[in-house]
């Protein structure tokens, strides 16, 4: 895998393009071939945009050859979660209800990628409406490290495609952990940026006040390049890393649901950071223990409001568990929603106070490695799965999952980096440091080696 051109970094691929050693057309053809070979097992793509991708690759090749350079993503194969509109291509949202939807406009975030010269290879599989279960019409995305396990949700198709080399980077969305959980399960980097940083116009909502779009890639550096393209702004951290004060979010570093192998990888990561001279200290965030409940009391009614028309007209077209969650949100009292919105503003103040003492927080991303199936959001297991990611949807602060090691069965383990709002670049810089210091737990191979 070391010399696999489809697994190298975006920067290296760009260098080879510009030196004439490699071409966007070659890379795109190899990518499409690999999708054809591996997607039947992974189920990572709902729509492969082969012909448009070829045209974009040819255009990139012509432009680079003529000296027109659109930047780091020029000629790079990228995928989009299938709730992001691209004109002329269905946006299914992983649902039967939207199976025939053909958007007439391209979402601004996708347009930015097109303007940056990216090659959009396809729309990736996801849990139905990003809401906790796969619809039987599409099925589960399988994990490249073990096809008998889930890639995670809801952006599982994006994470699996990146991990298996079916694209160099992908865009996902995250309402309670839907970028970071699959990133952790598949061993890639996934950033939920600062709330509002990436434009969500043309992205189908799950819960407006919690939704974020962001990058998944095989490294924090590649994720940074994608985030720059998505936002049109420089995302750059120029400060030192070894003088950072890092807080260990103690409540999330332990817990009854924590698997031993995850705890061990997290401890090794802390040790590696300390060995590099970075100061670590335990921190507590008051009232954090109520975050699971607050997240659900916001997410459920917002999602139900978005779906109220279809819920009345086409209820049987939803997967049964999606439908129950949508119905549940209809009967929750309004005061519970308002109180949860008040709580999250209290939580923001609590986190900002902690960030007066430390620069960055770290925790495990998820308490366990990839399970066989995704748990339902509105249940105890679903709450436990999102316990370490969901609070950062409530605050809106940047949170990045990076691969920090592997567990006993060779499955990846993610560590989460959280920073104050607007400091996405710092999260990515520390993520790069963790990847370097831990070597991601070794350069193991995925099932995509077959």
């Amino acid at each position: 895998m070391k010399n696999d051109p489809l697994m190298q970094s975006i920067a290296e691929t760009g260098r080879l393009y510009r030196s004439g050693t490699l071409s966007p057309v070659e890379i795109t053809e190899w990518t499409l071939t690999r999708i054809e070979q591996l997607n039947p097992g992974l189920n990572a793509f709902i729509t492969v945009m082969a012909e448009p991708a070829r045209q974009q690759a040819e255009q990139a090749e012509r432009e680079l050859g003529s000296g027109l350079d659109r930047g780091p993503l020029h000629g790079i194969p990228v995928a989009l979660k299938d709730l992001i509109d691209v004109q002329g291509t269905p946006t299914t949202c992983g649902s039967r209800i939207r199976a025939q939807d053909h958007p007439t406009r391209t979402a601004p975030l996708a347009r930015r990628l097109e303007e940056g010269g990216a090659v959009l290879v396809g729309k990736t599989n996801m849990l139905e409406f990003a809401y906790g279960v796969p619809h039987p019409d599409y099925g589960q995305t399988n994990n490249p490290h073990d096809l008998g396990r889930t890639a995670g949700g809801s952006s599982g198709g994006s994470a699996a495609a990146v991990a298996a080399g079916l694209c160099f980077a992908a865009v996902g969305t995250d309402t309670g952990g839907s970028i970071r959980i699959p990133a952790a399960y598949c061993g890639v980097a996934g950033l939920k940026p600062t709330y509002g940083l990436v434009d969500l116009t043309g992205v189908f909502p799950l819960a407006w006040s919690l939704d974020h779009a962001g990058p998944l890639a095989r490294s924090s550096e590649d994720a940074r390049l994608l985030l720059e393209a998505l936002t049109g702004t420089a995302i750059c951290w120029s400060g030192p890393i070894d003088t950072l004060k890092v807080g260990v979010l103690r409540l999330h570093a332990e817990g009854p649901e924590m698997q031993l192998e995850v705890a061990e990888v997290f401890a090794s990561t802390c040790h590696a950071l300390q060995t590099a001279g970075i100061k670590l200290r335990d921190v507590q965030v008051p009232d954090l223990e109520w975050a699971d409940e607050a997240l659900m009391n916001i997410l459920l009614p917002e999602a139900s409001a978005a779906h109220s028309g279809w819920l009345q007209e086409r209820p049987s077209d939803y997967a049964p568990l999606t439908r129950i969650q949508l119905e549940l949100g209809c009967v929750l009292p309004a005061v519970a929603y308002v109180r949860a919105q008040q709580y999250r503003r209290r939580l923001v103040q609590r986190f900002l106070a902690v960030f007066g003492d430390v620069d960055v927080l770290i925790s495990p991303t998820v308490a366990w490695v990839a399970p066989a199936e995704d748990p339902v959001i509105a249940g105890d297991e679903g709450a436990a799965e999102a316990r370490r990611s969901g609070p950062h949807n409530l605050t809106g602060f940047p949170a990045l999952s990076v691969r920090a090691g592997v567990g006993a069965a060779g499955l990846p383990v993610g560590v989460q980096v959280i920073t104050p709002p607007g400091q996405d670049a710092l999260a990515l810089a520390l993520g790069s440091a963790i990847e370097r210091l831990t070597a991601g737990g070794s350069n193991d191979s995925t099932s995509a080696d077959w």
Binding site: T194, Y195, D287, W290, D292, E293, A294, M296, N297, L300, S304, S308, L311, Q312, I324, E327, L328, C330, V331, L332, P333, V335, A336, V338, R339, A340, Q341, Q342, Y343, R344, R345, R346, V348, L352, A378, T395, G396, P420, P421, G422, Q423
Partner: protein, 73 residues
């Protein structure tokens, strides 16, 4: 008052109550589905009772999550 609220057992949310609430939102549920929802709704209502003990009082539930100058840092 909140301590009293927390210590008192809460009334059961019956399928008929859920059915009626759902109807008000335009959703027509069978009593069987309403009963299934009741099992899931009770933990959410209990959670809200916990949040009610945090004295959130006059915290504005809308608007920016953090002071805007933080975004500029």
């Amino acid at each position: 008052m909140l301590e009293t609220l927390m210590s008192n057992p809460m009334p059961e949310v019956t399928p008929h109550v859920i059915h009626a609430f759902a109807r008000w939102t335009g959703l027509d549920l069978t009593l069987e589905r309403a009963a299934d929802l009741g099992n899931l709704l009770a933990p959410l209502l209990r959670a809200d009772r916990h949040l009610a003990t945090l004295n959130l009082n006059l915290i504005n539930p809308v608007g920016p999550l953090w002071p805007e100058e933080r975004r500029e840092e």
